[in-house]
Amino acid sequence: MIEVDLDQTEIRDLNERLHRLPPDTNERAWHIVNPKGRHAIGVGLDGPITVTIDGHVGFYCAGMNKQAEVVVNGHAGPGVAENMMSGFVRVRGNASQSAGASARGGLLVIEGDTSSRCGISMKGADIVVGGSVGHMSAFMAQRGNLVVCGDAGRSLGDSIYEARLFVRGSVESLGADCVEKELRPEHLDILTKLLDRAGIRANPREFKRYGSARKLYNFNVDHAAAY
């Protein structure tokens, strides 16, 4: 375990050290202390390493992550795991807005709540939220799965493409072109596996599925009001 104290080390130096690790590195376990809300901790990682951060992180933690496992033992600021490509990011507390924005792959687990625009424009990642998500979550979400064990704020899935949304609690309102859909056995299977991988206990049968009505894909003058 390599310990890095961010009261003693600049973020840029930490990130450069992590970026320089060769694919066959033996330095696989990293422990970061005193994050104190600093930005861009563990951004652009690309290797089979584990980075554990004790404390609250600022903006864009674990952005563009590839392969790495990042665990935040605290809360996360805006844009955690934005544009993640692969790997695993876990936030033990809450996350601010735009968690997992435009993420293409990997799994983002937020054990607490997230605020607005969780999974905005997600493009293939899986996001599991133990609590609730704020307004405009999964806005223009294109691919992947967003699992919400609590409630969803207003305009869930506005202008959604082909992402799957699973919500256990209430949905304040659905956005344009987002509708409730049947939870078929193949969806139960996806949901069960995701909850299992996330380590979050919830009965998959209690969830409802939401997705695109696909009415906005091609312009139809009768739907002009929905744009």
Binding site: K36, G37, H56, G77, N94, Q97, S115, S116, G134
Partner: protein
């Protein structure tokens, strides 16, 4: 982009170091606002029947004692003055309208930055660390304070365009964001005799609150009305005599985080400002939801 910080004390030890803690929070927001910085601090209530004013004149050799002396001659009662950088805090045994009229007539070269019983406002161009040093902000004791670091997007960088803006007796406003209907609203407010000195959008929001409060609204009612009448992006923090209030617009693009311990309540645009406070790692931390008014008060 701007930075907002606020600190409300819940124990006398924190009051003793209010200026020190708030200054550290402010400096942490330098990247969000390197153009200018300012704070409003609530402390040392004026004696009964007296008015406390913060005045500004950019001339470093400006004779504040002379102004206080002139005012004393006019009012007959003792006028005390304490100079901090380009600002001076005056305490005069007179109501504000009479003081304003006298200042306007005899000393048009000074501008009134704040008025009330407890409020003092210090603001100027420059990096937050420089502003902290120039006004000796770390020495200030008090019950609560707000601060702002500005990166101008809508109007010029001057002391007059800096935050906090006074919105009436013991009230002030700081803002992160931009308003899009401020020109029309400015004209409307001028018709209601609300004085607006600059082309700054936040000053219009401050004027709007002043107008609503003058018409008899409570602070909560004035902020509720602001949600309807102000178009744009904002996180507002409003300083009051006994506490402060926080409001985000319904879209909530502009960041804000709140934290509370047994010793203090803090708000900031980013958590890293709050992280400078003692016990921050053990604080209860949450993000204010859109269009909901949060307020703390001793009353």
């Amino acid at each position: 982009m701007c930075g907002i910080v606020g600190l409300y004390t819940k124990n006398p030890d924190i009051e003793q170091r209010l200026g020190d803690y708030l200054s550290s929070m402010l400096i942490e927001m330098t990247e969000r606002g390197p153009d200018s910085a300012g704070i409003a601090v609530y402390r040392n209530p004026a004696p009964k029947g007296a008015t406390k004013l913060t005045l500004h004149n950019a001339d470093p050799n400006y004779s504040w004692p002379q102004l206080a002396h002139d005012m004393q001659e006019e009012l007959g009662d003792k006028v005390s003055v304490e100079v901090r950088g380009s600002h001076a805090v005056l305490i005069a045994h007179e109501q504000y309208p009479a003081i304003r009229a006298w200042l306007h007539h005899h000393h048009p070269e000074v501008s009134v930055v704040s008025v009330g019983d407890k409020i003092e406002i210090y603001k100027e161009m420059g990096l937050p660390a420089d502003v902290v040093q120039r006004f000796h902000l770390r020495d200030l004791r008090g019950t609560h304070a707000l601060g702002h670091t500005r990166m101008a997007t809508e109007s010029a960088v001057t002391t007059e365009h800096s935050h906090p803006f006074s919105t009436g007796l013991d009230l002030c406003l700081v803002h992160n964001g931009s308003l899009s209907n401020h020109n029309r609203l400015r004209e409307r407010l001028k018709k209601h005799d609300i004085e607006i000195r600059t082309d700054n959008d936040t000053e219009v929001a401050a004027g709007y609150l002043t107008w609503r409060l003058r018409e008899g609204a409570t602070l909560d009612e004035a902020l509720e009305a602001a949600i309807k009448d102000l178009d744009g992006f904002y996180t507002f923090a409003v300083g009051t005599k006994d506490g402060f209030a926080v409001l985000r617009d319904p879209i909530a693009c502009k960041h804000a985080v709140l934290a509370e311990t047994d010793d203090w309540v803090a708000m900031a645009t980013e958590y890293r400002s709050i992280a400078t406070l003692p016990g921050a790692d053990k604080a209860v931390i949450w993000e204010p939801v859109p269009a909901q008014i949060y307020s703390w008060s001793r009353a």
